[in-house]
């Protein structure tokens, strides 16, 4: 009897906790689903798994700041970021530790370009990304500089919807999904090579390389 009750309880969990699938409304109709012969996933194929749910950011008051070990801190509005830097397109697959993945056409600007304007100091080792919801993650500065890493403002030719990280999401290719921080508000340069972000401090790998496991280190 106890076993049956437990099974019923667990089996009905999705009914009262919600399904977790994001609702992108009519966006699926306008997004591109094929780019240069590569089949793209739909925006609605993502699962909503952020730490505090989708964030609504007011683009009027939004600022993207570059801080920490830089020659001069910068602060840009959304439009300034889009108008000031060259845009790039990339098809990159996001692999989530939960077991799902999505292949998306990303439009964005290079993090390297943003950092170049601020002027990283020589002792900067790590780039720490901060999000509007308090989430943080970090990546080595060499990874950012050597790999054409984007912060994306569009996916599949659609401006990022709030649940997908508007205004900017990091496209941390070859890294597990928890490095793909959404709702970026600040890019901080640090000398703290041991810095661990939100999930990294909760037991997930700090390097987060796709060809390695996602636990430990």
């Amino acid at each position: 009897m106890l076993a049956v009750l437990c099974l019923v309880f667990v089996g009905t969990l999705p009914l009262w906790v919600g399904t977790g699938w994001c609702d992108t409304g009519g966006l699926a109709a306008v997004e591109v689903r094929e780019y240069e012969g590569v089949d793209l996933s739909s925006i609605s194929a993502f699962r909503e798994n952020s730490i505090r749910g989708p964030q609504e950011i007011d683009v009027g008051s939004y600022r993207l700041r570059t801080t920490g070990l830089v020659a001069s801190s910068t602060s840009y509005t959304y439009d300034e970021v889009l108008n000031r830097y060259q845009h790039y397109k990339k098809v990159v697959t996001l692999d989530c530790v939960e077991g799902w993945s999505v292949t998306i056409l990303w439009d964005g600007v290079l993090v390297r370009d943003l950092l170049a304007e601020a002027g990283p100091l020589e002792n900067a080792k790590v780039v720490i990304f901060h999000a509007y919801d308090g989430y943080t993650t970090s990546l080595p500065i060499d990874y950012i500089m050597d790999n054409d890493i984007l912060i994306a403002y569009k996916m599949n030719d659609v401006v990022l919807p709030p649940e997908r990280g508007f205004p900017f999401q990091l496209v941390a290719e070859s890294k597990w999904g928890y490095k793909w921080i959404k709702w970026i508000t600040e890019i901080e340069l640090s000398a703290d090579a041991g810095y661990r972000g939100y999930w990294e401090s909760r037991g997930y790998s700090n390097s987060a390389d796709l060809d390695e496991g996602f636990f430990g280190d």
Partner: protein
């Protein structure tokens, strides 16, 4: 209770527990914002993930035993 019945009962209970833990830890991964406070912070996403992954093989073994234990025991009994 015969040994055969006892073995079956143990397998059934272990499988029941494994199914419940497997489902709970699955939700602990995908619905961690709900499951973590429901378990008073005991089942974190990371812990759920580790348990879920490490439970795969035992779960398969238990399912196989659950299906094949009785026929195997019967065949063993007939031969001896």
């Amino acid at each position: 209770m015969s040994r055969q019945q006892l073995a079956r009962r143990i397998i059934h209970w272990l499988l029941t527990v494994a199914v419940i833990v497997y489902l709970l830890t699955g939700f602990g991964i995908t619905q961690y914002r709900i499951v973590e406070p429901l378990t008073f912070g005991l089942l974190t996403k990371n812990l759920a993930h580790r348990i879920h992954i490490n439970l795969e093989i035992p779960f398969i073994i238990l399912v196989v035993l659950h299906i094949w234990l009785l026929p195997l025991l019967r065949r063993f009994k007939l031969k001896h």
